[in-house]
């Protein structure tokens, strides 16, 4: 279900922990699985974590599927619902809001024609609101697909970013 490359990455994570504590690698393993699905998936449904993928990861780590499932649902960066090719998460917490975070979210929402929490009809973009990303000095900030942080996202910078995300 996962590529040899993803499994090798998971093995590297497992090696960080004592031999009897493979469970510690579950967060990283789910992240690696999600990243592969995001990169390979052609539809919103194919880009998120499913019970089958979670069970596969759990079996690989020799832990109970429910233990992995609990983790996948507790931490909010794991996509458990269908998601666009580009998931954009804007920080709108207070420090960012004081420097354009709320305006950036509004601008994106208007520009993409979707409300926060929605995915565009062509399955390309999902827009989400996020909590403090530890980058408030660079506000407005947004995350693309969980791993790429974009700083100082004025309307012009957002236009440019969207043009890059083809």
């Amino acid at each position: 279900m996962l590529s040899a490359e993803s499994l090798a990455s998971i093995d590297r994570e497992v090696a960080k922990y004592p031999a009897d504590q493979k469970r510690s690698a579950v967060m990283a393993a789910l992240r690696i699985a999600l990243t592969e699905r995001r990169e390979q998936g052609q539809t919103p449904e194919a880009r998120c974590l499913t019970p089958e993928v979670i069970e596969y990861v759990a079996n690989y780590l020799e832990i109970a599927p429910v233990a992995a499932y609990e983790v996948a649902t507790f931490y909010n960066m794991y996509d458990m619902k269908p998601v666009g090719k580009y998931k954009i998460t804007v920080c709108t917490n207070l420090p960012c809001a004081l420097s354009g975070g709320v305006s950036a979210a509004k601008y994106l929402s208007e520009k993409l024609g979707i409300a926060i929490g929605e995915t565009t009809a062509d399955g390309k973009y999902t827009l989400l609101e996020g909590e403090c990303m530890g980058a408030c000095g660079d506000a407005p900030v947004l995350l693309v697909n969980n791993h790429k942080m974009c700083s100082h996202m004025s309307p012009a910078a957002i236009d440019q970013k969207l043009a890059e995300l083809e």
């Binding site: 579950v26 960066m77 207070l94 960012c96 909590e131 000095g137």
Partner: protein, 431 residues
């Protein structure tokens, strides 16, 4: 943007240089001299801990607990595994200093953790990094690789027979994992739900083994203390408030960013360094220590110095050193509503007073903001808060209550006006 005055952690770091984080650059700044000194002299563990105690270093993660004292709680003679764990799960709204330590000076943290490992007799450590800063996590992994390749980490460090391994772990979106026992649960591959204390991590930590947890900035201060001496660190700040401190200044200033200044620096000076108020607006209020710290009105703030004691005397806390600056255009009801939403969203849900209480706080403030407040709502906020604070497993519930109490105390008229008139006193503009 990151701007630093001279200090302990960012002394000599050129943030414009894209190789500033690398081992070679760190060693050119005097990096790993402290570790070499300790290992060459086989400095007794007690002496290392005494030096950290004498420096007056207080934990930079929020609570300000003396670091050396915490280290002395570790049962060093415990025969089995023991751990040191670094908390880089920086998620307290307003705080963005630890990310810059990882980006520009990760080896200071690595060296600090190796020294901590030596002092407490532990063989392994983990650094748990906030989910949203994946790029910083990857770069930290690269810094660890450099240290391993140079013989500074792993087996037989620098040929002295001392062993210490250090690994990075990556969170995936849960503020609560900044709480140390939730962090340990998360490292064990579980939901990040805080544990009952006691037992404290020093006796029952990671995998049930003795564990010491410190903030990134705390560990990163240690090489300086060993290299230049406890006295020099202490003198960089003021008594009982040793050292310099990173302040993350955000909000309505001209130059948001990190500023490393001596503890005891007047707030007015810090504000000036951050370029002063944006658009020449008037200062209205400041949250001086991250969103969980009580807000202070401008009149009080303009008289404080930035250190644990002065801010606590003024009725707030230094916390994580996140300074959130608000100007006259901010409606305090709206600002508080945003924070209340955050705590409601991030409660881990295992204690009823917190799970239910954070929801109540948010809903009441939300309805006041929407002009649907009822007479008695402020008293209701008080009573909900009183049923939360101090009655839960961890301090998130208190963290949710502090802002509510302080906003409704210092800016009560704005809340009363909204309840009475159904519209805000201040015509709010975010920026």
């Amino acid at each position: 943007m990151a701007i630093f005055k001279s200090g302990v952690i960012f002394e000599g770091v050129d943030t414009q240089d894209e190789n500033a984080w690398r081992l070679a650059a760190y060693e050119a700044r005097g990096g790993y001299v402290a570790l070499r000194k300790i290992l060459a002299a086989q400095m007794p563990q007690d002496e290392v801990i005494a030096e950290v105690k004498n420096s007056g270093l207080r934990g930079r993660g929020g609570a300000g607990f003396p670091t050396g004292l915490k280290w002395s709680f570790m049962p060093r003679s415990f025969p089995g595994d023991k751990y040191v764990v670094c908390n880089t799960d920086e998620g307290e709204p307003g705080t963005f200093k630890d990310r810059d330590i990882l980006r520009y000076n990760p080896h200071a943290l690595i060296e600090g953790m190796i020294i901590a490992g030596y002092a407490m007799g532990t063989r392994a450590g983990y650094n748990y990094i906030h989910g949203e800063i994946f790029e910083a996590y990857e770069q930290f992994e690269a810094a660890l690789d450099e240290a391993r390749a140079a013989g500074l980490l792993g087996q037989n460090i620098l040929g002295t027979g001392f062993n210490f391994e250090l690994y990075a772990a990556h969170g995936y979106g849960a503020y609560i994992c900044g709480e140390e026992t939730a962090l340990l649960e998360s490292l064990e591959g579980k939901k990040g739900q805080p544990r009952f204390k006691p037992p404290f991590p020093a006796s029952y930590g990671l995998y049930g083994k003795p564990t010491t947890i410190n903030n990134t900035e705390s560990f990163a201060s240690v090489p300086f203390i060993i290299k230049d001496g406890a006295q020099k660190f202490l003198e960089a700040g003021k008594p009982n408030n040793g050292g310099t401190k990173l302040f993350s200044v955000s909000g309505h200033v001209n130059r948001p960013g990190n500023y490393e200044v001596p503890l005891g620096t007047p707030f007015t000076e810090l504000l000036e360094m951050a370029g002063g108020m944006r658009d020449g607006k008037k200062l209205k209020a400041v949250i001086p220590g991250g969103s969980s710290a009580p807000v202070l009105p401008a009149e009080i703030m303009l008289g404080v110095t930035m250190d644990y004691d002065s801010i606590s005397k003024a009725g707030s806390m230094l916390g994580s050193g996140a300074v959130i600056v608000m100007n006259e255009d901010v409606c305090m009801v709206r600002a508080l509503e945003r924070l209340a939403y955050f705590y409601h969203e991030e409660s881990c849900g295992q204690c009823t007073p917190c799970r239910e209480g954070t929801g109540w706080l948010y809903r009441i403030i939300h309805r006041i903001l929407n002009g649907e407040g009822r007479p008695g709502d402020l008293e209701l906020l008080d009573s909900v808060g009183n049923n939360m604070a101090g009655r839960t497993i961890c301090a998130l519930a208190d963290a949710a209550v502090f802002p509510v109490r302080s906003f409704t105390k210092h800016f009560r008229h704005e809340f009363e006006y909204l309840i009475e008139h159904g519209k805000p006193l201040v015509d709010h503009k975010w920026c």
